[in-house]
């Protein structure tokens, strides 16, 4: 969901104004959040499989 938000909301904003530091901040912040969620989900899945 967060990754979709990045792809369909913040990536077009970034493409529309590539020199704007704020749009880059939006994109990178949300991408960081989605990456953290994915890493957490992966870690939880491996832990469940091991346990």
């Amino acid at each position: 969901m967060i990754l979709l938000l990045v792809l369909f909301v913040y990536l077009p904003i970034l493409v529309a104004s590539p020199t704007d530091l704020v749009s880059l901040n939006y994109f990178a912040d949300t991408l960081l959040f989605s990456g953290a969620v994915l890493v957490l989900a992966n870690a939880l899945r491996e832990r469940t499989a091991a346990g």
């Binding site: 530091l21 990178a28 912040d29 960081l32 990456g35 953290a36 994915l38 992966n42």
Partner: protein, 259 residues
């Protein structure tokens, strides 16, 4: 720009030659992010993606998505170092005055952040108060630099008149700070900008002035620093200089400028 500070002038040239028509600070953000994206995609598509199935194929990208913004923000710390002082809040600026910080300020440690030129102070009256006091602080002045003289506009002088003690949780921070600061600040001279008249010479200590001024005893509701800044009709410092139009200045508009 940090590239100039570390003598990497070629970095800006490389950005110009890249043909992206991006500012150098923005260019390096994209450069670092793209570099990690390409390296991560090669690694994921080659090694990790064939081992996963279904919706789990998105999982290896999590580390990549985590790493790319970290690279972008890390690069931003190297490229966009300007404007740090402008983004500080008034309360942060006043932390040194209020005694919340001790020793050197963090933004004064590195030479690239020090601005010895006159600083236009924005914000509200609280910010001007803080700046007025903070610049007179020995701890905020970089070592080895000459002492500064203050040139006050009438508005800033008016702010001095309205200044009260900062009380936080029942503790008078101003009093504590000035007790510690009064010994160090005995060689300051404060001028009024337009008339170049001396507002205050010698030790700057608001709490001492408040306690010794007769205005403070007689009119506790009125700021008692009027004599100190030479705006009253008594024996202020400005009266000693004999400027006839000094008494006509009002407390409206202006910023302190330091020379």
């Amino acid at each position: 720009m940090l590239f100039e500070f570390v003598d990497f002038a070629n970095a800006r040239l490389a950005a110009a030659l890249a043909g992206f028509r991006l500012p150098s600070g923005i260019f390096w953000l994209y450069f670092s992010g793209s570099l990690l994206l390409v390296a991560g995609l090669v690694k994921i598509l080659k090694d990790e993606l064939p081992q996963t199935h279904g919706l789990d194929k998105i999982m290896p990208f999590g580390r990549l998505f985590l790493a790319i913004p970290l690279a972008v923000f890390g690069t931003e710390h190297f490229t966009n170092t300007g404007g740090y002082r402008e983004h500080r809040s008034a309360l942060d600026s006043g932390a040194g005055v209020l005694g919340l910080l001790r020793g050197s300020r963090s933004d004064r440690r590195s030479p690239e952040h020090h601005r010895p030129d006159p600083v236009a102070v924005g914000g509200n009256a609280f910010g001007r108060h803080v700046f007025f006091i903070r610049t007179l602080d020995r701890h905020t002045r970089p070592p080895g630099t000459p002492q500064q003289s203050a040139f006050l506009d009438p508005h800033a002088a008016g702010d001095c008149l309205q200044r009260r003690r900062f009380c936080l949780c029942g503790i008078s921070w101003e009093e504590r700070a000035h007790k510690r600061r009064a010994r160090a600040c005995n060689r300051r001279t404060i001028f009024r900008r337009h008339t170049r008249s001396v507002l205050w010479r010698r030790t700057f200590s608001a709490s001492r002035v408040c306690s010794r001024s007769s205005a403070a005893r007689n009119h506790p509701g009125v700021g008692s620093r009027t004599r100190a800044v030479g705006l009253s009709s008594g024996h202020g410092a400005g009266r000693r200089r004999g400027s006839p139009h000094r008494q006509q200045e009002s407390a409206a508009g202006g910023q302190p400028v330091w020379a």
